[in-house]
Amino acid sequence: MAIALERAAGRPPAMLFHRETELPRGTDLVVLAGGFSYGDYLRCGAIAAHSPIMRAVREFAARGGHVLGVCNGFQILCEAQMLPGALLRNASLRFLSMDCHLRVERAGTPFTGRWQKGAVFRSVMAHGDGNYFADAATLDRLEGEGLVAFRYCDARGEATAEANLNGSARNIAGILSPNLRVLGLMPHPEDYVDPLMGGTDGLPLFESLVDALAAAPA
């Protein structure tokens, strides 16, 4: 993740320890990267959602700050109730480490500015608990307000049941906060930002962020 951020922004991000209580001055983006925080014991992201730094992250988001949560980061955002819903065990009950395709459902956000609505890109997923769940009312609200950012789809962009590898509700792979400044998603766009890694499909997300943050200083 740090590599992707540095590649897009031209400078390395600051790394924070979970016990810190403040964000560095001038922070314009907080990224909760993947990574089995606290061993994902109890529930993925549950313990991390209560770590000291999360209070600062919550306040930052409340002030309109940009927050990106990927994989474990998405789980943490849900557990911290910064995004609605929860991530259940994959329907197959197995860890899934493989390529997937994502369809951009909401363009024109700080995270998706470089894509057109309906664009399809390849990403990597690597998680055991990525099965997005929310009750029907919440799902309807997310859809109604255009807060579904990405859906799992096949290579042609069809959101089929087969493409929905982890069993997520309505193929949802990523969702946005109402102010569009908090994004959580399970797959790892940061794993495809270099041809050597197998492609640059994930780069637009980071370039979009650079565009958005340059336009609107924190």
């Binding site: 990574g35 089995f36 606290y38 061993g39 860890f95 899934l96 690597a126």
Partner: protein, 740 residues
């Protein structure tokens, strides 16, 4: 300090216990001679674990000495926690493979998980950040429910631990054979990267230096079962039952970060992980290597359970623990780092100049043993070895083709030993860390870039146990050669190997003969290919009810490629010509075709001509680095047609094949397992053939790649759709695992 002598066990009791702990009467007599008295319980425990096969290598050492271990790029050969080689830019690769066979049979998930945890510690102990894991697995008959249960647990355990620690699992191998029914093999390999001038070792120096314990607390995990069975030592037997070790990958992650953080300072003199026989082997080995003495105060050991005895603490195999020697006065600095990572930290002793290990607990000296004889008097056996009789070569003409080439291909790609391992690697995070350039299934060796550089490591594990069983020497050669070939097929330069020698009971001459034969073959191949052994592990007594596993010397190979972008995979590219490099005679002995199609397991395995191996491989590597090679795959299990089919499936690109040369039966040509061969997909076939002729390397055009999603077209026009092949290839393992 007081030096009251430890309380010896009553003589008769001691001798009886020694036998229960696995010491022979002669070995026990040596204990008496060294101590000049009967041992205390703790002392007997120390001797029994230090002189166990696992710690002392008493049956294997004399043979292991035959393996070549040097090369200009070798920084640290066998003898430390892991081997170390220079990989350029002042960096070093640190790697080792280790078995967790027995624990994985008892509790597959935890057995495999703690196997991964243990090998990770061996690598970061030396100052390296782990960057990749691999795993070499052997299971019994896939139709048995027990096999499925073990496979399922082992794969979950490997993934569960590696994924959580955040180290990508990038490769491995899997075989099935009924010989592993009651004794699966789980061999885990870790590769790490360190600065070549900052390698840490286990050599303790400096009288008075503090001995420091860090990591998890000590419980009664994995303590030698035999003792616990003797009720005398436990009032409440249920409470003190020996337990299986449980892994805690999150603590391991913290331990990695904390150790690497401390290693960035100059506070550490020596460091060693607590693996098998935890505190005993780590303290004895560290002090022994430095020619020092050591005193331990067990009251200071962080404990998870109440009322642990000295014996229990010295033998506990609790996971995620390390022992370090610090420079004087650096304790506070080190402690701050470990506390920050929420790990236990305790000074539990000092180095002395006495040359003895003295263990105190609750004010009592529980052990006082001179270290030099513990090592120098350790038993060493040259056990009788009976050579495996060489099987006669199988004449291909004596095995007619019962089903035809197309049907044989379909069956072979769907056979347990050849079917896709996707079901397994899909459960391993192979990309975490963002440096994986070639994932499992993409190339003959996994390619993992070094962060911030273009250079990459090429990693593989290989062994063909059925060859080793038929002819240990040829099998040993072949295992090393295949690892070398797999690295070569990516364009990387093979540099060194680690090995994991899995065999049956060494007290049987025929098993020792297998061991000696494999070593001989491995040594010859290592020498011919400049591919030294820098670390390894031996696992003996892999038997159930007197039946041994197939001899399985698993090889883990490491190579380097200057520019990761030049590494080639095996996926076929449309429009390329297919060229076979290497000589084909149609060797069907011990082939998978023979076993799966003709139902026979016999004959001599394919011989490995090491000179040809080297010549062919050096040629292929040079062509890859020169450009124009779009894909490359070595020919191994299943033979040429299986190799081509794997390339076609990986690229989802069809191919049309040319007729085999006259004089070789078609099935022997397409499915023979002759060694030293590669299939290359090249833009300019004629240029490659010319270069091969100039280099004196046998090469022949065998076909041309077709279109995406097409078919394999056999000579004569028979066409096999890739979709059908894929179903046969990829559907098998999931179906097996669901019990279909």
């Amino acid at each position: 300090m007081t030096t009251a002598a430890p309380q010896p066990l009553p003589a008769g009791r001691a001798r009886q216990l020694a036998a229960e702990f696995g010491l022979t009467p002669e070995e026990y007599d040596r204990v008496l001679a060294i101590l000049g008295r009967a041992p205390s319980l703790t002392e007997l425990g120390v001797f029994s674990v230090m002189w166990s096969e696992h710690c002392s290598y008493k049956s294997s050492k004399v043979w292991l000495r035959e393996l070549p271990t040097r090369a200009p790029w070798v920084i640290q050969g066998p003898g430390e926690n892991a081997g170390v080689i220079a990989i350029g830019d002042g960096l070093a690769a640190v790697f080792k493979m280790e078995s967790h066979n027995h624990p994985s049979f008892i509790e597959p998930y935890q057995g495999a998980a703690t196997g991964v945890g243990g090998i990770l510690r061996d690598v970061f102990t030396m100052g390296a950040r782990p960057v990749a894991n691999l795993n070499a697995l052997r299971f019994g008959d896939p139709k048995l429910p027990l096999t499925r249960r073990i496979l399922d647990g082992v794969v979950r355990g490997i993934g569960g631990y590696g994924n959580c620690v955040g180290v990508p699992t990038v490769g491995g191998e899997v075989n099935f054979h009924p010989a592993y029914n009651g004794n699966p093999l789980v061999n885990a390999m870790t590769v790490g990267i360190a600065r070549a001038d900052r390698i840490f070792t286990a050599r303790a120096t400096g009288v008075g230096n503090p001995v420091v314990y860090v990591g998890s607390r000590t419980g009664r995990d994995g303590i030698h079962g035999a003792t616990m069975a003797s009720a005398e030592f436990s009032a409440d037997a249920e409470e003190k039952r020996p337990t299986v070790q449980i892994g805690d990958p999150f603590t391991e992650k913290l331990l990695i970060e904390a150790c690497l953080e401390l290693m960035a300072t100059d506070a550490i003199v020596a460091i060693q992980d607590m693996g098998a026989a935890g505190l005993t082997s780590s303290s004895v080995e560290m002090a022994g290597k430095g020619g020092m003495g050591i005193e331990l105060d067990l009251d200071a050991v962080p404990q998870r359970e109440e009322g642990m005895s000295a014996y229990e603490m010295m033998l506990s195999e609790s996971q995620e623990r390390m022992l370090m020697i610090l420079k004087p006065g650096r304790e506070a600095e080190a402690e701050a780092i470990f506390r920050k990572w929420e790990l236990d930290f305790a000074v539990i002793g000092r180095l002395t100049d006495t040359g003895r290990i003295v263990i105190r607990h609750k004010g009592v000296v529980e052990a006082d043993i001179p270290l030099a004889p513990l090592e120098s008097e350790a038993p060493l056996y040259r056990r009788p070895a009976a050579e495996t009789p060489k099987p006669p070569p199988l004449d291909p003409a004596s095995v007619p083709d019962p089903v035809g080439v197309a049907e044989a291909l379909r069956r072979l790609v769907g056979s347990p030993d050849l079917c896709s391992r996707r079901w397994i690697w899909d459960q391993y995070d192979s990309t975490v860390g963002g440096q994986t350039v070639r994932r499992p299934g993409a190339a003959d060796a996994a390619i993992v870039k070094i962060e911030g550089l273009r250079r990459a490591l090429a990693l593989t594990t290989d062994c063909t146990p059925r060859y080793c069983a038929a002819d240990p020497e040829e099998g040993g050669k072949q295992a090393v050669a295949e690892a070398w070939r797999n690295i070569t097929a990516t364009g990387a330069t093979p540099l060194a190997i680690t090995d994991n020698m899995n065999f049956g009971n060494p007290e049987k001459p025929e098993i020792m003969g297998q061991f000696a034969g494999c070593i001989r073959g491995m040594a010859a191949a290592c020498r011919a290919l400049d591919f030294p052994v820098v670390s390894g592990n031996v696992s003996l007594y892999n038997e159930t009810v007197g039946r041994a596993i197939l001899p399985t010397p698993a090889i883990g190979g490491v190579g380097v490629i200057e520019d990761a972008a030049r590494a080639v995979g095996l996926a076929l590219v449309p429009g390329c010509e297919l060229v076979l490099v290497g000589e084909t005679r149609g060797h069907l002995g011990q082939s998978l075709w023979l076993r799966e199609i003709a139902g026979r397991e016999e004959g001599a395995p394919p011989p490995v001509d090491l000179a040809a191996e080297r010549r062919n491989g050096d040629f292929v590597r040079a062509r890859i680095l020169a450009g124009g090679v779009r894909a490359c795959h070595d020919v191994s299990d299943g033979g040429l047609l299986v190799a081509v089919a794997e390339m076609a499936l990986a690229g989802d690109v069809g191919a049309a094949l040319e007729p085999p040369p006259a004089g070789i039966p078609a099935h022997a040509f397409w499915f023979g397992e002759d060694q030293g061969r590669y299939v290359l997909a090249v833009e300019d076939g004629a240029a490659l053939l010319a270069a091969a002729a100039a280099a004196g390397v046998p090469a022949a055009r065998i076909g041309r790649a077709g279109a995406p999603g097409g078919a394999l077209v056999l000579p004569g026009g028979r066409s096999i759709s890739l979709a059908g092949l894929r179903e046969a290839h990829e559907g098998v393992l999931p179906a097996l695992m669901e019990g279909r």
